[in-house]
Assembly symmetry: C2
């Protein structure tokens, strides 16, 4: 590989079975509509096959919460060489190389394979999820007999037996085929999800450069398109499989829609489809790439992270959002957390504002669910769910599944991790301030900011004894401590949020009086309520040790049992797994530092550099990075505090979580927040990009060995290029 290829590619050769699940995840393809794990076309024992479509949830009977439906698998290509089935666990693998080209989002693989009779074939696979036609999956397989003539049987199927780890999502699922004049035969899986009643069609067609393709429904739920050809030595047979996944979320008849997509794809052909796809990706990278000179590993890690946010970001749908594990695996069942707004959204807000807008609109459209949650809990306004799916209702499970001994643990985040409502408001305001998209803000964004403020106004508890407002029973970003009182993160953010809400009202009234009047009326925000907010702002209790000048993460945190993380060296498992869920609550170990998160979001507002440094020095040693969100945030803040070595170390650690499987759990899916967080660490941390009044500025702290860092952002609707040269800041 050339240096350029090294910086743009993730690759593996030869085949390492021990990395099966890791590579399945990191080679996931996607186009903002669907996500396909990097499983092998021909299958492999133990593979975790996953084909997910944004928004396509179902809540199966007997399960705690809804899950993203694992679609009928559109990838399978069964290849027989002289009657012997090809597989990496069979015959002799004489060659193997797999490459994910991040630049074009194309996954390719070559295999040189010898069957037990000595017949050697070269098989090349290529696939992409089209960025131009997002329901479309394009696959090509080329087969060349190398040792002599041979017979090849290819069966391209749809696997309708796919489940979510044994849980079936379908009320009905039928498979069928169509063979007609004027088109190559097609196969279909038509399903209706059991609870959510989404109609889904997965359809495939196969174009063969040789031989006649025929459809077969011999295998139940696994229809296939088969062709058998006799090939001469070095005669290349090319098979193009086009598949469409359509759902009733988009079209009245998914089957007709899928058929039309296959027709159009067949008419255009592989090469043209590829060109259109690559053109879209070229634009993506033009806008979103960060270029690093002097650090190939950091460069590749950043591109890999950017890739995974981009493939997960919905392009044409404002009713869906990105789950914590993107669409790359089964983890967290595709549920949407604060990870999206505070970690994955910024790269989009700054480089792909249209996509960021879609994600924020998802929250807007789900205000009903948030209002419902607030009402149920006895509050006004909008209280967003901790875990969100297609309905906007809270979908956090209340209990873990029972363990081997039948024990289950109460999950509190859906009840009391309430900061997400402010996180979403923060993201809306960040989007608005940087994009200057007043139209969005006036029509939608302001309502999110204000109705969540309404919630907080009713949520804050006045304590007469101390004449202050408090927030009890909370969970902050550090989830090792549940149902604590007065989270410094939440209290501070709520105070900030209410202040922003008042500013928004003033701005709306000045610039858009009619819209303001309408909105304030609808949300019931009168002057009394605003006065109440002012009182909360003035009297919000922020726990801190005045003497030491350190914020206290929550009431009583300073009195918890000290924990030395060095004591638990070397550690890969999270501390709560080691100590146990309940015992961890009584210790000072934190999953991620709420105070550091606060410093990341509010920066100077939290205090002077010296004050923030004091807080860092207190909290950093007790962070166990139990969350994959943690390292990048800490890298960002470390860079801002001039802790260059720590910043770089944390940045590279964040970059290794998925790429190197540093936490050993990538099999469940990409850590989307770690991906987005890496961009934040680079841009907010190393470049120090920030807003001052109506301008933006940088304040670079590049790692010492970087020669330069360049990136583009949109600012107030205009794209701007920022290039930072080592040692010399420039805007």
């Amino acid at each position: 590989m050339t240096p350029k290829e090294r910086a743009w590619r993730v690759a593996d050769a030869p085949f390492q079975p021990g990395k099966l699940h890791h590579t399945e995840t990191i080679y996931t393809l996607g186009n903002g509509y669907m996500g396909l794990r990097g499983t092998f076309e021909e299958g492999y024992p133990g593979a975790i096959v996953s084909t997910l479509v944004h928004g396509l949830y179902n809540h199966p009977a007997g399960e705690l919460v809804p899950d993203l439906v694992n679609m009928p698998n559109p990838l399978p290509l069964t290849i027989e060489v002289d009657g012997e089935r090809f597989g990496l666990d069979k015959g002799q693998v004489l060659g193997y190389a797999r490459t994910l080209d991040l630049e074009t989002a194309i996954l390719s693989r070559g295999v040189l394979w010898r069957n037990s009779r000595g017949t050697i074939v070269a098989i090349e696979f290529e696939r992409f999820t089209s960025l131009a036609v997002e329901e479309l999956i394009v696959q090509r397989v080329s087969i060349r007999p190398l040792s002599g003539p041979c017979s090849i049987t290819m069966a391209a199927s749809i696997d309708g037996t796919q489940t979510n780890f044994g849980v079936t999502q379908w009320g009905s699922l039928t498979t069928s085929s169509e063979s007609g004049a004027g088109h190559s035969p097609r196969i279909f899986a038509d399903g209706l999800t059991a609870q959510s009643q989404y109609a889904v069609t997965v359809a495939s067609t196969l174009l063969s450069s040789v031989g006649l393709v025929t459809a077969s429904e011999e295998n139940p739920l696994q229809p296939d398109l088969g062709v058998t050809v006799a090939l001469e030595r070095d005669q290349q047979a090319i098979f193009d499989k086009f598949s469409a996944i359509c759902t009733s979320r988009r079209s009245d008849s998914p089957r007709i829609a899928a058929t039309q997509i296959l027709e159009a794809a067949s008419a255009r052909g592989f090469d043209m489809l590829r060109v259109a796809h690559c053109a879209e990706w070229a634009q993506y990278w033009h806008d979103s790439d960060i270029q690093i000179e002097g650090d190939e590993a950091a460069q590749r890690a950043l591109r890999f992270a950017t890739y995974h946010v981009l493939i997960a970001a919905p392009r044409h749908d404002e009713h869906v959002s990105i789950g914590a594990k993107t669409l790359s695996g089964p983890g967290y069942k595709g549920h949407v957390f604060w990870d999206t707004e505070l970690f994955m959204l910024p790269i989009l807000t700054f480089t792909q504002p249209k996509l960021a807008r879609n994600l924020l609109m998802y929250r807007y459209h789900n205000l009903a669910g948030a209002r419902h949650k607030a009402r149920e809990a006895g509050f006004e306004g909008a209280m967003f769910p901790w875990e969100s799916t297609d309905t906007g209702e809270e979908t956090t499970p209340r209990w873990t599944n029972p363990d081997a001994e039948g024990k289950r643990i109460r999950i509190w985040t859906g009840d009391t991790e309430q900061h997400i409502s402010t996180d979403i408001a923060y993201a809306v305001l960040q989007f608005w301030r940087w994009t200057g998209d007043d139209e969005f803000f006036v029509k939608y964004g302001a309502e999110i900011v204000l109705d969540t403020a309404v919630f907080w106004g009713t949520r804050a508890e006045y304590q007469a004894a101390t004449d202050r407002f408090e927030l009890r029973m909370q969970i902050g970003p550090d989830e090792y401590h549940e149902n604590i009182d007065n989270s410094v993160f939440t209290n501070s953010m709520v105070r900030w949020h209410l202040g922003q809400a008042l500013d928004v009202i003033a701005w709306l009234e000045a610039k858009h009086p009619a819209a303001a009047a309408d909105l304030l009326t609808r949300l019931g925000i009168d002057s009394t309520r605003q006065d109440h907010w002012r009182r909360i702002i003035a009297k919000m209790y922020i726990p801190r040790d005045a003497e030491k000048g350190i914020l206290e993460q929550f009431d009583g945190f300073f009195n918890l049992d000290p924990v030395s993380l060095a004591y638990w060296t070397p550690r890969v498992a999270n501390m709560d797994y080691i100590l146990g869920h309940e015992p961890t609550q009584h210790t000072k170990v934190i999953k991620q530092a709420d105070v550091v998160m606060l410093m990341a979001l509010l920066g100077d507002d939290v205090g002077t550099v010296e004050e923030r440094r004091r807080n860092w020095d207190y909290y950093y040693p007790i962070v166990d990075h139990g969350s994959s969100l943690s390292p990048s945030t800490h890298a960002w803040v470390a860079a801002r505090l001039g802790l260059d070595a720590e910043a770089y170390d944390l940045f590279m650690y964040a970059g290794s979580i998925d790429l190197e499987d540093a936490k050993g759990n990538v099999r469940d899916g990409i850590h989307g927040a770690a991906s987005g967080g890496l961009w934040e660490a680079a841009v907010f941390g190393f470049s120090g990009l920030h807003l001052t009044n109506s301008e933006f500025k940088v304040d670079p702290r590049l790692p010492a060995h970087w020669r330069s860092m360049s990136f583009r952002i949109y600012f107030q609707g205009e794209q701007r290029m920022i290039k930072l040269i080592a040692g010399q800041p420039s805007g």
Copy 2:
């Protein structure tokens, strides 16, 4: 990890069972006397345990050739936590991190482990093979109960059941223990190799910071030193295991020697032993490190490669040499090939000349075997064996072991891959010219150069019909073509060799006439013989296509069947494995390019840049890099030809062979020639270091993104520092 640590460390966390054998090999420790694979102290299912000592060969009955004896394993530490045996395949691994610190050659590993009853312990392992006392292995294990008090049982044993994949090497092997006043108990394995009759003692002692160590011989051939202690929570128990491996190659009584080493080590203690070890390594790196600015991956790869040559290079023994797989695994049974002189030796010649001298002395001491081989084949002088062990006799197997169908293949290299005699002469001359070590050369080196020249003088065949000298039945570096006539590499090198021999004679006669007279008399080199050499030089046939200006690899090569390597894409297996051993001979595919190797060794002598480039263009596309020696040599020559992109790509490929297991066969051991070759590619390729008369010069072609490259070399006995800054050469 800091950037500095990244550039000095090879590490893995969490534990990946799929990389077991790869990491066993790359984490090998050594000190030029012994090599210990990076297997786990506590064992692991399927582990390839290997403890090798230079020169300790044995030829077991029924085996084709001698093998380096797999010693009784001195590493085992069996740990029980509350009666439950610790292992990575048992209980819960809560943490795992392993690091080979290249700077100090210390392998460390931490494990956080929970047994089935919930007891958690932190276990830290450290080990090194002392560079100060080379028979000594130092291990430390620290155990701390973290969850509460617990009982720890530690058994430090020697595993005398070790074999070479089931083949026993011992005529006798007994184990025993000694417990006496005034010293901690010791255990011993005393063996006598069956055929070679080497006496070996492996001895261990265990120092415990808590509890009383007692010796046990309960397990046959696995004596152990046991201690059981009750530990409080957070009470650290430290166990130091010192082991010695002594052999009759060094001392009359290995057992007494081993006992003395253990006594001395126990008296000094772990910390002092570690200090002494690290001080030696600091000097190694001071002399041998190449520093790259601007390419962390290349920097780490170079250090990793340098490390593996240094740990394999004998420091105090001039009767042993480095096998193709160093002492890191079972591959090639520890046999010594040309890999040593042409790939591993240069880094030593230039940076550790004393070590280089040891390796050349190994060949000097084995001249008897080489003379024997020449005589047996009907020639005069010295004809070095293709595979060499402790006797200096040819030890290349004549046949492969039968495959499943009983087929075996004749191995010809021991008969006809004769260029090694000239390769050794080349290495002697390179050593002499750069070090200026006349004393070595006059006493030893000249005899190697001249007696191998005597061999060639009798080996070259005069063909009256064409009035030229030829060399038939040869194998060149490209071993895909056996028993060919007139290898362009061999013929050219022999011509060069005879010319050098005449120069050496002239120099000797001028500067050391007495020594010259003695040597020439002993070797029978009279003026007639010298005249014969001059005729050979004048009339040596060098196959080439005059019209195209391309050297022909051997007679008839241009007429072989063309092979397109692109046709066989993507390939990991070697082409001879794919096509079959015999069919490959009829094709133009080459394992490595003889002509490129020739250009590497003789540079300008092979032709102008244009001529060499023409040869490159012809041969490079047909090289399959079937040999791990190939990429680095090609990188070196590519750099010299100004093919910067190819040079860097090949350099990084060479660096990945062991570090990334790019060829998938590192389980058998380190590719020592790839390691040494990486240094050659950097120094001879990128820096262009070369000799001009009595000076040295550089002619840098650094990869475009490198900021600088610095290294030290010894030149004529003085150490010189060379720093190349990007874009500007400097000496």
